[in-house]
């Protein structure tokens, strides 16, 4: 089993959908981030004479209730959605890897107990947990007056979504560490008297890059999607800020058979769907690249 980076890269490039998705994703990310200079002032500029206008030359993606240009709102929302997804996934990966690695390496009763806890959390609906977390973390920040700004909501959401999404990661990493632990080179490290944390950090972690990258990538779209659900239920980002999810949720709320303002839903949703699909494809491609299962 040779895990030379070149072959993994070659396998990823062979997965054509993943390759195209990676390009799409890079473009989307560049577009959202580079346009921030215009989208930050543009997203809240109200044109009250032109509320809910369909797409036109002046506002290519139409305007919302307050006459705000949906183009800037979608671009800005993308930047927030993507950064929220990435940060939440980073937290999930961090917790999941540390938890799974410790459980797998220590093993025995400790492993049993730690995995039972994961089972317990699995038995709770994640959306319910996220809402509970969002409200309790938010209330804590409020009472102790930590981070008293419009970003506090964003931080709360990142913490809540990241703090709930690490379960799968922990299971996968534990499984990997469980089999790594029996490998001769870990045994050699242990025989040399290297402390446990160093074995985990220097000898085990580099061998976990594959699953970490794969599941990290697959956690990002999940986190973005969960945020859109939270937005729809009214516990998402606070109004001056926007994400693709909150824009879509606002658009859906504004829809009715008499005024079918499709552009309010279609544009944020298209951006959201393209990104989620691309992330899923990239994740699949990475999995194939790292797993190296002969036939495929």
């Amino acid at each position: 089993m040779s895990m030379v980076p070149q072959t993994a890269r070659a396998r990823f490039c062979h997965h054509r959908a993943a390759l195209v998705s990676a390009v799409v994703l890079a473009l989307m990310l560049a577009l959202c981030l580079l346009s921030l200079a215009w989208s930050v002032p543009g997203m809240n500029a109200q044109h009250l004479q032109q509320t809910r206008h369909p797409p036109s030359a002046e506002h290519p993606l139409g305007t919302d209730d307050l006459g705000r240009s949906l183009l800037w709102r979608t671009l800005y929302g993308g930047a927030i959605s993507l950064s929220l997804g990435l940060l939440a996934a980073a937290i999930a990966v961090g917790i999941g890897t540390a938890y799974g690695a410790v459980a797998g390496y220590v093993g025995g009763r400790c492993d049993e107990l730690m995995m039972r806890i994961v089972d317990v959390l699995y038995a709770l609906p994640s959306l319910l947990l996220m809402m509970l977390f969002t409200v309790s973390i938010g209330a804590c920040l409020e009472t102790w007056r930590i981070l008293d700004s419009e970003w506090s909501r964003f931080v709360v959401l990142v913490l809540a979504i990241g703090g709930v999404s690490w379960l799968t990661m922990a299971r996968v990493i534990r499984g990997q560490v469980l089999s790594l632990r029996e490998q001769p080179f870990i045994e050699a490290a242990r025989a040399l008297g290297i402390p446990v944390w160093r074995i985990l950090l220097r000898h085990t972690l580099p061998n976990l890059v594959g699953p970490i990258v794969v599941f990290g990538t697959l956690t990002v779209p999940q986190a973005i999607l969960q945020e859109s659900f939270l937005s729809f239920l009214g516990v998402g980002v606070q109004p001056p800020q926007a994400t693709w999810g909150s824009l879509a949720a606002d658009g859906v709320r504004a829809l009715n058979p008499i005024r079918f303002d499709w552009w309010l839903v279609v544009f944020p949703c298209t951006a959201l769907s393209i990104t989620l699909l691309a992330l899923n494809f990239v994740g699949d491609g990475l999995r194939d690249a790292f797993e190296a299962r002969g036939e495929r």
Binding site: I117, D119, V120, Y122, A123, L124, P125, S126, L127, L128, M131, L132, F133, V135, S136, A139, C140, T143, P221, L225, S228, F229, F232, L233, G234, V235, G245, A248, A249, V252, L255, P257, F260, V265, C269, L272, S273, I274, L276, L277, N280, E295
Partner: protein
């Protein structure tokens, strides 16, 4: 097998206790008792009376681990914090059956659509029917439920007038919400089924089956599918969990009087008694569902029955 069941049954109450304990912990981390709700300030005497009515005069461990569970399960008179005239049990009794029906219906649809779709995709490899199924799956995983629901609602219910717009009680009212709720999971199950079937096709027993002269249909349905169902089965537990919570959103779109509204409101208003009750209800529901899936797993795959200890 019997030992496995017993083991799972015995750990069940412990599991519930741990879940309940974690919920209590989360609630205690949230400041406020949920009694001061409303715009106007309550007179101190009234607040004091309310606190006594909800046992806030007791120490927390007595309140959360003795008085409330007792009032909830035994006396059934624990009121919710937001509506004092309603007990938690009454609210659950009215909302839970609705959510259960919706969830089970959706789960059924998701399994049928998913396994059907995955099988069709494999049976028609390389033809347009496969591409259509794959495209449907992609839409299912990349659009938020509330968007799919809203589009279905407007097109099918409002423009075509084929089914009622919202509400609950008649079978026609259940069609759209159940489909909306099922679609993302159907998409995932279809993907699982498809890749498991493709994996199965690489196995020797498929070659044996073909060598015996079985028709391609029988090879697919009798031999490949049976083994491909295992990953689907193990996904049913998480899928059920996600469907029962996903129902919050669908219930909101289609104005269904299920658990969703109560869950969202109770959390937003810090309605402690209702939050704890919903957490318990969901935990019991999902834990028993997982147990059921484990048992089914043993029935489908004889290897697991033997190696239950190691699984």
């Amino acid at each position: 097998m019997l030992r496995f069941i017993l083991q799972r049954l015995l750990t069940f109450p412990l599991l519930l206790l741990v879940i309940y304990g974690s919920a209590v912990l989360l609630i205690m981390a949230t400041p406020g008792e949920g009694l001061e709700s409303g715009d106007k300030e309550l007179p101190p005497e009234v607040l004091e009376q309310k606190r006594i009515a909800y046992n806030y005069d007791q120490p927390w461990w007595q309140r959360y681990f003795w008085t409330w569970p007792k009032r909830l399960v035994w006396d059934r008179d624990l009121p919710t914090h937001q509506y004092e005239d309603w007990t938690v049990v009454e609210i659950m009794a009215s909302a839970l059956p609705v959510s259960l029906q919706l969830g089970l219906l959706s789960l059924g649809i998701a399994v049928l659509l998913g396994i059907g779709g995955g099988t069709i995709a494999v049976a028609f490899r390389g033809r347009w029917l496969e591409h259509i199924t794959v495209a449907m799956c992609l839409i299912g995983i990349s659009l938020p439920t509330f968007v799919i629901g809203a589009i279905l609602l407007i097109v099918v219910a409002l423009w075509l007038g084929a089914v009622p717009v919202g509400g609950w009680g008649r079978p026609a009212q259940a069609i759209l919400p159940a489909i909306t709720l099922a679609l993302p999971y159907a998409a995932y199950i279809a993907r699982l089924t498809r890749s498991a079937l493709l994996d199965a096709y690489a196995e020797d027993y498929i070659r044996t089956a073909r060598a015996k002269g079985l028709s391609e249909t029988r090879v697919l349905l009798d031999h490949a599918l049976r083994n491909a169902l295992l990953p689907v089965l193990s996904y049913l537990g998480p899928a059920a969990a996600a469907i029962f919570t996903g129902s919050f959103i669908v219930e909101k779109i289609f104005t269904i009087p299920g658990m969703g509204t109560h869950v969202v409101e109770s959390i937003n208003n810090r309605d402690q008694s209702l939050i704890l009750a919903t957490v318990i209800v969901y935990a019991v529901l999902l834990a028993s569902f997982n147990l059921l899936v484990d048992l089914l797993y043993g029935l489908v795959d004889p290897r697991i029955r033997v190696g239950a200890k190691h699984a």
